[in-house]
């Protein structure tokens, strides 16, 4: 039986706080953790499938043009080679998040260097890899493909444009103003598990074990790509080795494995090489951002301008939403916001952890630091003075807003010095030492979700949904929600995820997973509670459940009388999405050392204070926060995709040349979880936390670099060469 709940009104009843089990929010270890630390959790490529063959993708070595011939015979005589697959249905790009339709198909047309054009299948991986290298391909190259985002006329994303009041006038009249241009380089998700799929056919039924974040969308994308009915497809992603946006949509290996398995009549496994993952999946676009801030003599913003240029391939809808939080973070009645996208022939641009704010916030928060200095204000105080009462563009109330609390609690916990700030006040040997801060903001997303909860006759419970856990803690928080609602130790709750045979959730992405699927589980549990309440002669509201017993003394197992009790919860966000501006907020504080002679920056300590609604598990929520802060360090100091200016190919396409933070780059990190219940965000009063931790953190580091050594830098990442160049004598 399905129970549908569409949320039109905020739920401020704090129901979950009044339940009796007392497990929600507790820092429980992950329920799937033992499988992960012992290496027994199976990821996509690791299912033992009998008679399985190995496929290796072949990628294009031109930027734009046509594949004129692929010489199958050039490899079919090699040992173990079974087939070359160059079917017209092969996908040449990954699907964008929530695309819900096939990505670009047709491997004959090449749109970027590194695009998949064929798959070679052999008995063993070594044979397939060797043959893929030897496959003879001829091209007709179309010269002159644009690859420099600055060299083409960009398209305006009109739904992002805001002209409000007169910003130029506000800038001219301002007591203090800032007009600066920041740049950020491209980023890669670089999830540790490479994209992988095993496809197996049974007649016209297809099963694919894949590394995917959003099965509900992915099954539609795959069905569309293969021209099949969804009922004939089953996707399984029980464990996903990181996503960060790169596994939102189906990638090339999923379709290639399915087509190849059909063609040869045997299961096929395709694992992209690390270099292929870098080049064929998604990059975060580079950005150029102009920030204009106008303030009166008290530091109150009167004007706010944020204009950004990003890029993508022709035919892609996605444009890095740089301005996303700029629309509502600060006051300023005179506003100019504009986003433009340049069409170029570099690899596909798409979602990488916190699309938009991950690069928009570091630029905005850098500019705010410049303004604070000009206005002679403490940067924390400048932000406190500019928190709007309501959305400054949409005339909407905020669902809940904890920026001020985050700024204050974060400053307190960090030991922020509110005294006058001047660069170069502290030096130890070769090192300048300084501090910096920044605000955090990340829009709250929520989506329709379904999950089945079964209270078993034996007093245990089962949760089933196609929702994924990509390291986010989904397994554990769902067990905690059920435990809290039904009065069970979470150890008695079995959670089955990542299988399209289960009711469909929205998947993991945009930090919407926990609030969405958690609400579906909550709705199902509430319906089960109603049944139990009827059995005990009380109301659902008054029903108390704890440790497998009702408050009236009956054991759940007695109440169930040998029958399982199952309900499918169907949660749908209604008017709450339109009636409020909802966001997670936070504040970052960092202390860095900058070497006077080498320009090297080391982060010595860093703290984040975040308000994101109800905390479902204090341990896994904190882990999401420290993960985000770690990414902030990468954005600030090391991460940059480099493209060859001649053919647009990604040059640093591996983990030796693309520098993600390593152990020694990351100090012990401190996290303050700010108490919040956001009833307009979801019925469980939770918002997302997977991305907030990297939305602005890079600016705290950038501002600390300036405070330490006096180098004001407008280009991320702030590599030693850039620091040295900007360092005063």
């Amino acid at each position: 039986m399905t129970v549908h709940f569409k949320q039109d009104e905020p739920d401020n009843s704090n129901r979950l706080d009044r339940m009796k089990q007392g497990v929600l929010g507790k820092p429980l270890p992950r329920i799937e953790g033992l499988a992960k630390v012992t290496g027994t959790a199976p990821y996509a490529a690791e299912y033992p499938i009998e008679n399985c063959t190995e496929g290796v993708l072949v990628t294009a070595t031109i930027t734009r043009g046509e594949v004129t011939s692929i010489d199958h015979e050039s490899v079919l005589t090699m040992p173990g080679v079974i087939a070359v697959v160059d079917n017209e249905k092969l996908c040449t790009r990954a699907a964008q998040g929530t695309a819900n339709e096939a990505p670009m198909q047709g491997p004959k047309q090449v749109c970027y260097w590194g695009q998949p054009i064929a798959l070679v299948v052999a008995e063993t991986f070594e044979q397939a890899r060797d043959a893929a290298k030897h496959l003879k391909v001829d091209y007709r190259e179309e010269e002159g493909a644009p690859i420099d985002p600055g060299a083409v006329e960009p398209e305006e994303q009109e739904d992002e444009t805001v002209h409000q009041g007169d910003l130029a006038h506000a800038m001219a009249d301002a007591a203090h103003s800032v007009d600066v241009t920041y740049t950020t380089r491209g980023h890669a998700s670089a999830a540790m598990e490479p994209h992988a799929a095993i496809a197996q056919w049974d007649g016209d039924k297809l099963t694919v074990y894949a590394a995917l974040q959003m099965l509900n969308y992915n099954i539609t994308e795959l069905a569309d790509a293969l021209d099949m009915e969804e009922e004939n497809i089953r996707l399984i992603s029980r464990f996903v080795g990181g996503g960060f946006g790169s596994k939102l949509g189906i990638s090339e290996e999923v379709v290639a494995a399915a087509l190849a398995a059909k063609q040869i009549g045997r299961p096929v496994r395709v694992v992209q090489s690390r270099q292929q993952v870098f080049q064929t999946v998604m990059r975060r676009s580079e950005t150029t951002q102009r920030l204009r801030l106008a303030a009166d003599e008290n530091g109150k913003l009167t004007g706010f301008g944020h204009e950004a240029l990003v890029s993508n391939l022709p035919g892609e809808d996605f444009a890095e939403p740089v301005l996303q939080s700029s629309h509502f973070l600060y006051d300023g009645e005179n506003r100019e916001l504009m986003l433009k996208v340049a069409r170029i022939h570099r690899m596909t641009a798409g979602s990488v952890r916190a699309p938009g704010e991950a690069v928009g916030m570091p630029a905005l928060e850098g500019a705010m630091d410049v303004l604070a200095e000009k206005a002679g204000l403490d940067p924390v105080e400048l932000r406190l003075r500019n928190i709007p009462e309501k959305d400054p563009e949409e005339d909407l109330p905020f669902s809940s807003h904890k920026l001020a609390e985050c700024l204050k609690q974060g400053a307190e916990a960090f030991g922020w010095d509110k005294g006058p700030r001047k660069p170069r006040q502290r030096r130890e040997g070769e090192w300048w030492i300084g501090t910096g801060m920044a605000s955090a903001a990340r829009v709250h997303n929520i989506a329709e979700a379904k999950a089945r909860v079964t209270l078993k006759a034996d007093g245990t419970a089962l949760v089933e949904t196609d929702m994924t856990d990509i390291g986010t803690g989904t397994y554990t928080i769902l067990a905690q929600i059920v435990g809290e609602m039904l009065g069970l130790d979470p150890e008695r709750v079995l959670v089955e995820l990542g299988d399209t045979r289960h009711p469909r959730g929205p998947g993991s992405g945009g930090s919407w997973g926990a609030a969405s699927i958690g609400s579906a589980v909550y709705v199902a549990c509430k319906a089960i509670r109603e049944e139990l309440a009827a059995k005990t002669g009380t109301s659902e509201e008054e029903l108390e459940l704890r440790e497998g017993e009702a408050g009236t003394g009956e054991a759940l197992t007695d109440l169930l009388e040998g029958e399982d009790l199952a309900r499918e919860g169907h949660y749908e966000p209604g008017d709450i999405e339109d009636d409020y501006t909802a966001s997670g907020f936070g504040a970052f504080f960092a202390e860095v050392r900058v070497n006077h002679y080498t320009g090297e920056t080391r982060v010595d300590r860093m703290l984040g204070a975040f308000g994101f609604g109800r905390v479902l598990n204090a341990k896994t929520a904190r882990s999401q926060c420290i993960g985000g802060i770690t990414w902030s360090i990468g954005v600030a100091l090391t991460e940059a995709l480099e493209f060859d200016p001649r053919d647009g190919h990604l040059v640093n396409c591996d983990l030796a040349e693309y520098h993600v933070p390593v152990h020694r780059d990351v100090p012990d990190l401190e996290v303050v979880l700010v108490e919040e219940r956001d009833g307009a965000a979801s019925p469980i009063q939770a918002k997302g936390i997977g991305e907030l931790g990297m939305c602005g953190g890079a600016a705290a580091i950038a501002n600390a670099i300036y405070n330490a050594c006096g180098a004001r830098i407008y280009d991320y990442p702030m590599t030693p060469d850039r620091v040295l160049e900007a360092m005063p004598e």
């Binding site: 992960k36 630390v37 027994t40 490479p194 464990f239 996503g243 770690t630 591996d654 152990h663 020694r664």
Partner: protein
């Protein structure tokens, strides 16, 4: 007698194809998928295993080079029924998120603690001679070959520090 590689105490024949890496041998030939492939180029550490007591990247060495060697993988370090102290500490400190780099982190840390106990110096050490003082910085330096993109480093170091402190107390 055929050439063999001993993995977690069990002898297996060396594969015929000389191109097979030790990593692919473990994952494809003997079904020990606990060891992960993250980059296949020795850049990420996800494939770290312990060969004759020394941690190595199993993607950077060919199976054929390990005739007679003794390999310990994550499956040999502990099991769900009997996890090692490090495995328990990773669980308690949430030293992982997606879990994909985790077997490599744990294998690496297991051997690293032996290196510390044997006073092998590192870039973070005060001196090349004498006892090595265990510190967060020593651990970070020695674990920097094991990438974690989820960003669990702070928790991983806390887990290792706990076990390291126990070992020396």
């Amino acid at each position: 007698m055929a050439d063999t590689i001993t993995v977690n105490g069990t002898a297996h024949p060396v594969p015929e194809d000389p191109r097979v890496s030790l990593l692919d041998f473990l994952r494809h030939h003997i079904g020990l998928t606990g060891t992960k492939k993250g980059c296949d180029h020795g850049q990420c550490g996800a494939c770290t295993v312990i060969v004759n007591g020394i941690r190595i990247n199993s993607c950077l060495t060919l199976a054929a080079m390990h005739d007679g060697d003794s390999v310990t993988t994550i499956e040999g370090i502990g099991t769900p029924d009997d996890p090692s102290a490090l495995q328990r500490a990773f669980l308690e400190h949430d030293g992982f998120q997606c879990g994909y780099c985790t077997p490599g982190q744990i294998c690496s840390a297991t051997a690293m603690l032996e290196e510390l106990a044997a006073d092998w110096p590192s870039d973070a050490s005060e001196s090349l001679e004498g006892r090595i003082a265990i510190s967060g910085e020593e651990i970070r330096e020695r674990m920097s070959g094991n990438l974690c993109r989820c960003g669990a480093y702070a928790n991983i170091v806390a887990a290792i520090e706990e076990v390291a402190a126990g070992g020396r107390s």
